[in-house]
């Protein structure tokens, strides 16, 4: 198999496996485990097969173009370091799968677990194998996501949910930081290709954006590796099933952070900023982690803090900027993975077999599970750094490095002391773990009766512990070459001389080790009794709970502050929104005028018709009064609005727009009726309910609104005046006037524009009308009047009561008397208006009028009948199917428009011609006329539909009352 294909397979297989596992049935436990194991095994084998290539050529590449224009490609790249990690990831994955097969309960949806697990594994492999930084970020965030799912696997447990969320939030923030950092690197280097970036160290370090880049990248790395001050998510992630912890917190997830730091070590390390930031974070994590670990009562908590501490150790090593430190760091990454994985698994066995992980309740388990205990003890020893185990070797290197001077500073001077103290703490918590769990009196009162777990559950631990031993005893023969390959791939030419051997002579590091060992044991002995009963967490610092602080901050920022800000910066009320729209538009219009100035012709009334001035004086007074009266005197306001409308119509007429005048007049009539129909359903409102004194704030608001209204009105006035008094540029209108008759076949240019030149606008516009009518209809189908409007209007009740009370009258006499004569006239006007509508329609193309005006006129004929005789009367006689008219109108217009297709012309190409009819003479036969008929049909339908739909509300109420009465009768 080609090497590059193997790379793809290594990343792809886990995802494929994940998908397969996801679709397995919930109870397919063994199949899921087998699948996961097989995938891990194949990955492991692939890694092993790839070793020669990696060791020989330095790196295996596979590049698949993804989005080349963004320099985002699916580039995989395996060098020694990546290989080491890939091996570690797949090997430990294999072991964890085996372990998990026994660990997971049949009640759990195990396939889902393995699905997440495999996806996580694939993401982790993706991180280590990415040859493109953006791709790395992709996988990086995917590990966050899948770890979230894995930690929250037992989501019925609130702790799991919170832990998962916190892990995701912290690592997600880190991931975003990493993204920004990577983007900055791309900005500096000009590429996201890892090879190019790795060879641009000098460029990056000398770039002005180096510090921000560094900070962002470290934000990613430190959060992922749970380094101070982002460490607190890790202990909470212990709510995950133990196999998850064993995998995530040994070889993967948290290792991704230090992996990244090591990966970028040649590019970023060696500066003072790097030293300080990384060093400080590492040292704090190292010390805090180990100190906190001592005081944990939960085994997994202890291991979690220990993980923080060990990763702090690695971080410290990387911070130093010395190549030997880097070697030690890489070495410790591997060592920590092996012993920590085994320890987590052991903790899981204890939990699984006893039902608890609380060291206060556990003791003397050595008696019941000696084999497991032995393994755990060896692994703990490795963790404590006991000689002949792998942990010892890297710790010695660590000591040796801390003693050296790197960047002369307090931090550097403090390093050896910190190393010593931290190691002593490590010994203390390791001893505590072993002592508290396996020794002491036999366990009592445990949830389960403890016993050894099945062999295959112990087996992974056994293998890992063996590895700890073998590496610890004969490092040079076992891990040596692989480590070297890894180191060389990171450090390249800067690879230092180092030796991997158990015995380096009796030197200061060894002395420190011994001292730390002794100090740690003594420290433990001092604390032993206290720890047996103490609360979780170290004394005094218990209250400083990172998790709680984080939660508080999160809740404050993401919830309380966000809501407050949402309230401050936004509104759910309509009026402020409208004010904003208006103000912003005002600013948008004022700004350019303000900046550039506006030259205005001096205002003058010369040339103005006095009558025109007069009617506008009326309109202005009426408009202002309409605005003023609209709250309490609705009818007055409506009438005044009508006056303003009438003056508008006359203005159109005066200024040479008879079509507009006719249309506006017709619309005016229909609108008035419409609003009157609506008024029936509005609450009574009279001035009496107004409190005498208006609160100050309301007054202020009113003045503000008033000022805004004046500003807007003044603006509109200025702008319209300015434009009206400027000479008009050459407009496209000239063309229309010239061609209206010769090509459009009509003399009324406006109408020709409407049905021909710009018929498409009309087509859209009538559709709007149709849509609105349908909406009105739909909304009224569900109309439910307010309780105080359900009754008949007061007038009708009084009149009916009056009729009822008079012996010679019956209910309804008043109305029939009232309408006796008017109704007759209105009825006889019906055909007259129809003829008038026909007139408007027919002459439209040559003179003012047209389909729209005709439609509205026709609709008023119907309305008049409804007004005269009532809904029921009319509908007994006329079948009004407005919805059909709407549909037919649109269809007709569209069909006429597309008729031109047949002749190969675009939509709406009109065909106009005067046809000689016998007896009649030349008749204009433009296809536009048919189009106009569609308009007519639609307008008629839409207008009637709206008015009738509202009118129907009155009789619907009657009908429902009648139905209710009938139902009552039936019941009685």
């Amino acid at each position: 198999m080609a090497d590059d294909t193997s790379l793809i397979l290594m990343v792809g297989l886990p995802f494929a496996g994940s998908f397969l596992a996801a679709i397995l049935p919930t109870n397919a436990r063994n199949m899921a485990a087998g699948l996961a194991g097989a995938v891990a095994l194949i990955c492991l084998c692939l890694a092993i097969i790839l070793y020669p290539a990696v060791a020989g050529d330095g790196a295996v590449h596979n590049r698949v173009e993804w989005i080349p224009s963004l320099d985002l490609n699916f580039t995989l790249r395996m060098d020694g370091f990546a290989w080491m990690f890939a091996l570690l990831v797949s090997a430990i994955a294999l072991l964890v799968v085996l372990y998990a097969r026994y660990y997971m309960s049949p009640d759990d949806p195990v396939p889902r677990f393995f699905s997440f697990f495999l996806a996580f594994m694939g993401s982790m492999l993706g991180i280590v194998l990415s040859g493109n930084l953006i791709l790395l970020v992709v996988f990086w965030e995917m590990t966050s996501i899948f770890s979230f799912l894995l930690i929250g696997y037992w989501h019925h447990n609130a702790g799991a949910r919170d832990g998962a969320r916190m892990a995701l939030t912290i690592t997600g923030i880190g991931g975003l930081g990493l993204l920004v950092g990577v983007l900055l690197i791309g900005h500096i280097v000009g590429s996201y290709d890892l090879d190019r970036v790795l060879s641009s160290g000098e460029l990056i370090r000398s770039h002005p954006l180096y510090v921000p880049t560094l900070c962002f990248l470290l934000l990613g790395a430190l959060t992922k590796s749970a380094q101070f001050p982002f460490h607190f998510w890790l202990p909470n992630a212990m709510a995950a099933p133990t196999p998850v912890s064993a995998f995530l917190h040994s070889a993967t997830m948290v290792k991704a952070g230090v992996f990244l730091m090591a990966r970028f070590w040649p590019v970023l390390a060696g500066t003072e900023e790097w030293f300080w930031i990384v060093g400080l974070a590492g040292m704090c994590s190292f010390l805090l982690g180990s100190y906190f670990a001592i005081f944990q009562q939960d085994i997994k908590g202890l291991l979690a803090y220990s993980t923080i501490s060990h990763l702090g150790l690695i971080t410290m090593l990387l911070s130093l900027g010395s190549s030997l430190g880097a070697v030690a760091a890489i070495f410790h990454m591997m060592n920590h993975a092996t012993f920590k994985a085994s320890l987590f698994m052991a903790a899981g066995i204890i939990d699984h077999e006893t039902g608890t992980r609380d060291m206060r309740r556990l003791s003397g388990l050595f008696r019941v599970m000696p084999f497991t205990a032995t393994l755990a003890m060896v692994a703990s020893a490795a963790m404590a750094g006991v000689p002949l185990l792998n942990g010892f070797l890297s710790k010695e290197m660590f000591f040796a490095e801390t003693i050296e001077t790197h960047v002369n500073s307090i931090l550097d001077t403090a390093a050896p002391y910190a190393a010593f103290v931290g190691s002593a703490f490590a010994v203390a918590y390791s001893v505590r773990f072993i002592h508290g769990t396996f020794f002491g009196p036999p366990p009592t009162n445990l949830p389960h009766e403890p016993h050894e777990p099945p062999f295959w559950m112990r087996f992974p631990i056994l293998l890992l512990v063996l590895a700890c031993l073998v590496v610890g005893i004969i490092p040079g023969l076992t891990i040596g070459p692989f480590l070297h390959t890894a180191v060389v791939s990171v450090l390249g030419a800067a690879t230092p001389e180092y030796s991997l051997s158990v015995w380096h002579g009796f030197n200061l590091p060894l002395l420190m080790s011994l001292g730390a060992f002794v100090a740690g044991v003594i420290f433990f002995l001092c604390l032993k009794n206290y720890l047996a009963t103490s609360e979780e967490g170290p004394p005094y610092l218990r209250k400083v709970n990172g998790q709680r602080i984080f939660e508080r901050i999160m809740v404050a920022i993401s919830w309380r502050w966000a809501r407050l800000l949402e309230g401050y910066l936004g509104t759910r009320r309509l009026q402020p929104q409208l004010r904003l729209v208006v103000v912003v538009a005002l600013i948008a219009a004022t700004w350019p005028i303000w900046m550039q100035g506006l030259a205005l012709k001096p205002p003058s009334l010369a040339g103005a018709d006095p009558a025109f001035v007069g009617i506008w004086a009326i309109a202005i007074v009426c408009a202002v009064t309409a605005a003023w009266q609209a709250k309490f005197h609705r009818l007055v306001s409506l009438m005044l609005l009508g006056v303003a409308g009438l003056v508008t119509c006359i203005t159109f007429l005066w200024l040479s727009a008879p079509d507009l005048a006719v249309t506006q007049l017709l619309v005016e009539v229909v609108t008035t009726v419409l609003i009157l129909l609506g008024l029936r359903w509005l609450p009574k409102r009279s001035a009496e309910i107004v409190p005498d004194s208006v609160p100050l704030m309301a007054k202020v608001r009113r003045y503000r609104d008033f000022a805004m209204a004046i500003a807007v009105g003044g603006g509109a006035m200025l702008v319209s005046y300015a434009i009206m008094t400027r000479t008009q540029p050459a407009t496209i209108a000239d063309y229309f006037i010239e061609k209206a008759y010769s090509e459009g076949g009509g003399k009324n240019v406006v109408n020709v524009i409407l049905v021909d030149f710009r018929g498409f606008d009309t087509f859209g516009e009538i559709t709007v009308l149709g849509i609105v009518a349908l909406t009105v209809f739909a909304l009224l189908r569900r109309f439910r009047p307010a309780p105080d409007s359900i009754e008949s209007p007061e007038q009708q009740r009084i009149q009916n009561a009056h009729d009822d009370a008079q012996p010679d009258r019956k209910v309804g006499d008043t109305i029939s008397d009232y309408l006796l004569v008017p109704a007759l006239i209105m009825q006889w006007l019906f055909p007259v208006i129809i003829v008038f509508a026909a007139y408007l329609f027919v002459r439209g193309h040559d003179l003012p009028g047209g389909g729209f005006a005709a439609g509205v006129a026709m609709a008023s004929a119907f309305i008049l009948q409804y007004m005269a005789a009532g809904t029921i009367w009319v509908e007994d006689r006329l079948r009004v199917l407005p919805v059909r008219w709407i549909g037919l109108g649109i269809l007709l217009a569209a069909v006429v428009g597309s008729g031109s297709w047949v002749f190969g012309y675009p939509f709406l190409t009109s065909h106009s011609q005067y046809v000689e009819l016998p007896l009649i003479g030349a008749v204009p036969a433009a296809s536009a006329t048919l189009f106009d008929f569609g308009v007519f049909s639609l307008v008629l339908g839409a207008t009637s539909l709206m008015l009738i739909a509202i009118a129907h509300q009155s009789i619907r109420r009657l009908r429902s009352a009648r139905a209710a009465a009938a139902a009552e009768e039936e019941a009685a």
């Binding site: 009279s686 008017p822 007259v832």
Partner: protein, 128 residues
């Protein structure tokens, strides 16, 4: 303002007279609308415009266009007819509504609703 210059003097003068008459009558009608004290008096006012006023102006219009176009232009007749037929509808409906409103407020018989008494005591808010 083309066409008007083509009008013969007699027509121009006749039109001018009719126009002034019509608009004068209309104005008088609306002045009545302002001046009359009660609603029932005011009802009469607009009819001055719809009969005399409109009649005069429509005749002026007919005259003008008939002369200008040298053919009888009679479509103004339609306006006359429509106005004559439609104005009463509104006025009838309105007058009856006013009666009703006064009755419900005064609970009186019609016959007391005469003259200045009983009507319009300055209720300033239109009801609904």
């Amino acid at each position: 303002m083309s066409g008007l210059h083509d009008l013969p003097a007699w027509a121009a003068l006749a039109i001018a007279f009719l126009l002034l008459l019509g608009s004068g009558l209309t104005l008088l009608g609306t002045i009545g609308l302002v001046r009359f004290k009660t609603f029932y008096e005011r009802v009469h006012a607009p009819t001055l415009g719809t009969t005399g006023g409109a009649g005069a102006i429509l005749i002026a219009s007919m005259l003008c266009f008939s002369v200008l176009q040298s053919r009888p232009v009679l479509h103004e007749l339609l306006i006359t007819v429509f106005v004559t037929v439609t104005t009463p509808v509104t006025l009838m409906l309105l007058a009856r509504a006013a009666i009703y409103r006064d009755r419900t407020e005064k609970a009186d018989s019609v016959d007391t609703l005469v003259g200045d008494r009983g009507v319009n005591d300055g209720e300033h808010s239109a009801r609904r």
